[in-house]
């Protein structure tokens, strides 16, 4: 266990990182995005530019978070992220997973929590970047499929929400459904975080006693040929079961974290 002083420091810095994230979102949405509207190019060009900006901003944010020692991380195989028509799926133990993955994927599209479209700090950014809301609707499935078909890479968390600590992972079928109908490539990213930072049901100030270390690993592409030409309800159920098995074999039933918060 670190000294109490260091622990308090980490609580303070974690809070500061939240503030920075919110401010960054506001600056991107309120100042930078309107400014980019002055640059030439149509709506698609604009959206691509915004995605590039978000990626760089998150990269900077990751750099700050590791610089102030709120987290440390290693990312294996990130050079295989960002291929055209690539659906990137990851398990979701903590709040920071999406930040790390988007930071290391060249300008991806992203399926994000519906609440981000209402949150005053993030809503302008997710709109401007053309991200997709995760409600299990027509618009989500069609929007995600269209993004992949147009050659974007797309980041999705099949769990739909953060893993419930200590519970087995559960995959909603949306990601599998989108994969069988529209993905050229399906690539898993395994996320581990030890000890767990910002899991579901924990207030932000309950930081773990040790600095959390993230290990992200890009897995081999998952072969989709067996699912092509099979009616979508059946294909997506088969693939979903296979994906859950695959992630469970890799990470254990409860996903990126097994056991306690390191207390």
């Amino acid at each position: 266990m670190e000294k109490r002083q260091t622990y308090l420091w980490r609580i303070f810095v974690t809070g500061a990182c939240f503030t920075l994230f919110g401010l960054g979102g506001l600056i991107l949405g309120v100042l930078v995005f309107p400014a980019t509207l002055l640059l030439p190019g149509g709506p698609e060009r604009r959206r691509a530019r915004m995605r590039g900006l978000v990626q760089r901003a998150l990269r900077l944010f990751v750099w700050v978070m590791s610089g102030v020692r709120v987290i440390s991380y290693e990312f294996h195989g990130s050079e295989r992220l960002g291929r055209p028509g690539q659906l990137i799926i990851a398990n979701h133990p903590t709040l920071v997973d999406v930040v790390l993955i988007v930071a290391f994927t060249p300008a991806p599209c992203c399926v994000v929590k519906a609440a981000m479209f209402r949150n005053p700090f993030t809503r302008r950014v997710v709109r401007a970047a053309g991200y997709i809301s995760n409600s299990p609707t027509d618009e989500m499935i069609h929007g995600a499929a269209a993004a992949l078909r147009s050659g974007d890479s797309l980041v999705m968390f099949p769990e739909g929400t953060r893993t419930r600590p200590g519970q087995p992972m559960q995959f909603a079928r949306g990601a599998a459904n989108i994969a069988v109908q529209a993905a050229d490539v399906l690539t898993p990213v395994y996320v581990r975080c030890e000890p767990l930072l910002l899991p579901k049901f924990e207030p932000w100030y309950r930081v773990p006693p040790r600095r959390p270390h993230y290990t992200l690993e890009v897995g081999e592409d998952i072969d989709l040929s067996a699912y092509r030409g099979v009616p979508s309800p059946r294909a997506s159920r088969l693939l979903n079961a296979r994906l859950l098995e695959h992630f469970t074999a890799r990470l254990g039933a409860s996903g990126g974290y097994n056991g306690n918060r390191g207390n």
Binding site: P136, T137, D138, I141, R173, N177, P231, R234, S236
Partner: protein, 82 residues
């Protein structure tokens, strides 16, 4: 013009094929979600199928209140009438 019974038969056939259900389970009273295990993601596939079959623009809104196979028949009937 299709009668409701014809629509029911058509829906039965496509549900049975798409979701590999025993046609005997697909009655008007059967609830899509609880009895037939057709979830919100399936509903998207189902609507896409209906769009292809009827060649009409169908908005998810028209199906928001559909709970049972019978509701689905009514909703499709209304659409093909329009």
């Amino acid at each position: 013009m299709q009668t409701k019974d014809e629509i029911l038969e058509q829906i039965k056939a496509s549900l049975a094929e798409l979701f590999e259900l025993d046609p005997a389970r697909i009655t008007r009273a059967a609830r899509l979600n609880e009895d037939l295990e057709i979830d919100s993601i399936d509903a998207v596939d189902l609507l896409d199928g209906l769009r292809r079959q009827t060649g009409r623009k169908i908005s998810a809104e028209d199906f928001r209140s559909v709970r049972t196979v019978g509701d689905l028949v009514e909703a499709v009937y209304k659409l093909v009438q329009a």
